[in-house]
Point group: C2
Chain length 212, copies 2
Amino acid sequence: MTGPRAVRQHITEERIVEAALALIHDEPSGSFTLAKLAKRLHISAPTIYSHVPNKQYIIERVRSRVVAEIDCSSFERLPWDEALADWARSYANAFVKHPETIPLLTTNPVQAPELVRQYEVIATALLEAGWPPDEIVAVFTVVESFVMGSVLDLVAPVQMVQPADGEEYPLLRSLLGESADVLRAQHTFELGIETMIDGLRRRLERVAVRPV
Amino acid sequence: MTGPRAVRQHITEERIVEAALALIHDEPSGSFTLAKLAKRLHISAPTIYSHVPNKQYIIERVRSRVVAEIDCSSFERLPWDEALADWARSYANAFVKHPETIPLLTTNPVQAPELVRQYEVIATALLEAGWPPDEIVAVFTVVESFVMGSVLDLVAPVQMVQPADGEEYPLLRSLLGESADVLRAQHTFELGIETMIDGLRRRLERVAVRPV
């Protein structure tokens, strides 16, 4: 049986990923370094390297944790357009719980198998739907970009535009009054997803290739 | 004539905003505090308060600086859909120069008059185009969300998806090969803007209200 001290100092990959998530939460984005992570774990940087190969690996384990809840099973039973909308909603829900990871995860190359596997499923569905191969990566990327920007809006104040007192914006003020609602960002996200998917549907009608 | 020491210590709103931008650059997002800003300027927090009213005010001066280059003059000469696409491109260009401000600026309410004024121009154009008043704020917000997510992609590595060696994703690997290009994110952004604007055009056909 190990004593409390040994338990406390037992470093696992799991603990490193937990500490990385906490560090990103406290200091979002570019400032993520292994030196800071080691300090948080009260260990030396070389000790981290005995558990994980490099910083990129830790970032991808963090991504795996965040994206674990994204569900792409709709592609097994729905047409590509409805499945893509479902995937986008599920993707947004996963990141709304960890919005502080967005700057780091969206600017580092994706290797996490949990997400890459989903891309393969989606790419297969888009190819079968007739999407030209050279547009498929762009199609799921534009959906992801919209989701990421929307998550930042979903975690923002209910009313994101708040003209200062004394300034004259009569139309904008009246429109903001109409859209001030706790579900504002949720409704906006739905409008955006429906609009983007509809635009993609129209695009496919123009560019579709028929399977040989 | 003031000596060098007096010049060095002369705190202006301009210098505070410069220091805030530098601080956000070094420590993006949630960690922006007046205490840190004061430390960077080598002054006390009370001294900052003698120049600017509060943290929100500084954030909005930073926003003003970043959005100064966004051009919405297209709304004066082009139909709403083309003008919105131009605005989105200009918006993305402004933020590509300061991507580290995105988490902070997208989660704090917008008061900066430079941007609020643009919203009034855009809202007026959308209303004249027949958009229902209760959708207008959502329409420019979905475009902004897509722009913000795309900026994170535009400043990311050329190839954002990089499956690890040894993993099998035959279709995805082949598609990634086709889209590996220094202009990948730029092409993706264009596809997304065109798609979203086209979707909005279709939506307007369904929901348009005729002016009384």
